[in-house]
Each structure stands twice: as C-alpha cells, then as structure tokens.
Amino acid sequence: MPGTSELIRARRRQSLRRNLTAYAFLAPALAMFVLFLAWPVVMLFIQSFQTGGVMGPAKFVGLANWRQIFSDDLVRQTIFNTLFYAAMAIPAVFIIAMVLALCLNAIRIGHTPIKTILYFPTLQPILIAALMFTFVLHQDFGILNILMRAITGEPVNFLGNASLAMPTIAMVEVWKGAGFWTMLFLAGIQGLPRDLFHAAELDGAGPLRRFFELTLPLLKPTFFFSVVFATIVNLQVFDSVFVLTDGGPANATATTAWYIYRSLFSFNEPGYGATLSFILVLVVLALTIVQSFWFREK
C-alpha cells in the first residue's frame, strides 16, 4: 500500500519525464530559433541605443538613434517607398493571379503544361528575375523598349525615371509572383464545395454574382494566408532594388531593407540600421496582428 507521498513522487517523476521528452524533441529547433531569431530581435533593441561596432566596440548613445530617425527624410522616404511598392505589387499580383486561376479553372484541356509554364518565373530567385528584367527594360536592347521604339519611336528609361522606377520594380515581383499565387488561388477555388455553386446557378446567379458572392467570400482562409504572407515578404523588398537601381534615381527606390543593408555596409552605422530594423519588425508584426483580427472578425 503506497503512501500519498510515494504517489506524489511518482506523479512528479512522470510529469518530469513527459516534459523532458517533449523538450528533447523541441530543443534543436528551439536552440536555432532562440539563437538566430529571438536573440537577434532583442539585440536590435539593444543596438538601437548604440553606435559603431563594425570596427571596434559599440558605444552607448542613449536615444540619439531614435531621435534622429524620426527626423530623417531618407528614412521617411524609404518607408514611403516600401509601402508604395507593397501597395502596388500585392494588389496587382493578386488580381492577375486570381484572373489566371479563374481561367485555369474554366478550361478543360492543357491544365498541366500551362500551370507548369506559369510556375517557371516563380521558381527563380528574385535576383535572377530582376537580372532577367534588365533584358526586358534596357534602353538599348530591352525587349520592352524594342517594342516601344517600334510603336512610339522613343525608348523609355524605366529605371532611370524617378516616377517609373518603383512601379517597374513592382513589375518584377508581379512577373515572378503571379504563378505562385495563381496555384494557391486555384487550389482554393477547386477546394470549394461544388454543390453550393450548382445551387446558386439553379437560383439564377450569373458567373459574376457567383464569383463575388460565393467564390470570394469562401476563399477567405486562402486570402488570409495570402495577405499576411505577401505583406511580410514584400515589406522586405531588397534583391530587385539592389540589382536594378541600388535605391536610385534620387532615392526613388530606396526601400527600408535596402537602407538597413546600406547602414551596415556603406554608412557604417549599425546602430542606426538596427533602430530602423526594429521599427520594421514592429510594423510587420503589428500589420500581421491587425490583419489576423480583421480576417477573424469578417
């Protein structure tokens, strides 16, 4: 007959064993997560009160970075540019992908080859996609400009024009991303319950009404993932800017991620870059949380 204390000990041993087992499974991934994700976020906050550190030790500067960052015109410009880029690229790629997905859903023959080809651009690194776009955009031999010259007689300097440069970079993302979102939306559309659509058709709802009143609302879970994911990715836009314009002309394509990179390697101001990084983390997290609530409520 065991005493109560023995039972309690057995229970503790069991609980300890259960927790140790679970944490053993979690440990390797958690270690990587803490070391290379959680700790860097904490370090961002610490570094935002420091200056220097690339050569020699970092110095504590109090709130200097924070004070400066809110009056820095270039920072304001990069934030504007980044949001401008996302506001162009995300709706554009979503609408195009939705149209392509609906078209794929409407045809009977040739699915696989068309899907395969539409997916080719998605596979490429953005950097390669951007480099490929120089051959589309180049003033002398860009294929789009050869077309322009044939039509209007004048080539367009897509990347050299301050008002055209950012939309052009958004175009790279649209070209590369359309295939990805098309497949995602198509999977969503094909996963919808068919009966509902048959019922709606019997009720006399036309294709447009079916799309706006059934397809779109029912795809809400897909859109939730898509909007959140696209926001996170696009607010980090860097590769295409780096290879196509390097922030120019006249900082028209200077994005936040580009500025963070430059603050480390060109301006030698990691503390300042960390401050901006910290703001970027907060903005993306806040947007993600707001989007989650927004989608949950609707």
Binding site: A29, Q47, A106, A187, Q236, F242, S277
Partner: protein
Amino acid sequence: MTKGLFRRRNAVSLQPTRSMTTIAYGILLIGVLISLTPFFYILSTSLKETRSLFSYPPEWIPSTLFWGNYAKLLQETEFVRWTFNTLFVGVVVTALKLVLDAMAAYALAKLDFFGKRAMTGTLLLAVAVPVAALIIPLFFIVRSMGLINTWWALILPALANPLGIFMLRSFIVSLPDDLGHSARLDGASEWRVFTQIILPLIKPGLVVHAIYTFMLQYTSFLWPLVAIQTESRQVLTVGISGLKANFVVDWGLISAASLLATIPITLLFIFLQRFFLAQNLSGALKG
C-alpha cells in the same frame, strides 16, 4: 481512366460557355507568353556577342551561335563553385531543417508539456518577423562565433524560421491520436513513435517541406550577401549579381549566367512537380 476523367470534369467551372472558354485560353496564352519571353530572350542574348546586342533592329534568333559567353562564364568566373556552394548549402539546410522542424512539429502536435500554448503562440508570431530586419544583429552574432565567410554562416540562421514547423505540424495533427497511443502500448518509446509511425505517415508533408526549404535557400540573396565576402565561398545569386559590378557591364555573360542559374531549380521542379503545385503551405498558418 473513367475515374480520372470524372475528377477532371469536377475540377472545371460550371458549364463554361464557348466564348468564356475562348477568353480564358486567350488570357492564359498572354500569361504563358509573358512568363516565357524573358527566358527565350536571355537564351538568345546569351548566344550573341555583347556588342551585337546594341544593333537595331535586333536579331531575335542569332544566325551564328556564339558560345563565348558560356566559355567565359565557366572559365573566367567562379560560376561552377557558386553553383556547387548553393546546392551544397541548400541540401544541408534542407536535411537539417527537415529533422529539426519535424521533431518540433511532433512535440507541438502530439505531446503535452509545460508552456505549450505560450510556445506555440510565440513561434507563430515569430513567423512574421522579417528576416531582412535581422541582418545587422545576425551579422554580429555570426561574426562573434567566427563563422563569417563559412558555410555555417549560411546554414545555421536558415534553421531559425518556424514556418516549416507549423507546416509539418498541420500534417501531424491530422493523424489520429490513437496511432500513437497504440504504438506506445505496443512498447514503442516516444522516439520510435516519431520515427516509425509518424514520419512514414507524413511523407508528402516532408517532401513539400523539403522543396520549400530548398527553394527558399536557393533563392536567398540578402543574407549570403552580408555573411559571405569571399568570392569562392559565395552562392549563385550573389555571385551573379557581382558580375554586374564591372564598369562596362558584360550583358552576354550575365544572360548566360542567369539562364544557367535557372536550370537546377527548374529541373527539380520538373521532377517533383506534383508536390510544388500541391500548395499545402497555406495549411500551415491556419492552426
């Protein structure tokens, strides 16, 4: 056969009219052309001498094939090294991340432990942390570990993002609990349950996970640009971007490099197409 036909018919829209189908094919044709044209154009460019690029009207299909760009790329640049580095790092990251994420996903999906809810929430939130914002502290952390310019600098930080954990978790959660209970009663340790019961049953999930991890690694640019400063240790994306840094840009060389860089990932895609196109990624964030 009939089954396949039936499924296909189910997948299409309700009785699309002929004109709707024509419009759909028209739009898709435009999409296909826009997707493919840049590939063909750099193929054509890579087979021309750079100076003939600037002639107008352009020569769409070069009358004589010029292999000089490829020869220069393979002989005078470290292109082969970059390709090897990229593939090597990609394979190592994929293998390690698969093991780490699967283990963690199993714990989150099927095991009970102290702090589970808080941990799940934290990891889910961490999915949203933009990696581009972490390059500065990561640079200092990796430098203090003495890993700058090593493969470890590319491999270790790539293991941190928890998105893959959630993707695999959604696969494991869908398995009935009784399978694990049964195996435990049969005498299996937790590790055996994981390796002998769970892993074999989520193979499709593992393949999708591996593909996405590899693709993400293959396409990464910013972090390798920061972490690797030795040309011979560089990955493809950064290496190729460096070709543009010369005063007189060798466009023929760049087009050849870009085209070759698309080949490994395209081959992988063609072999594993059904996994690429089955978008199981969105399931990850629903849990």
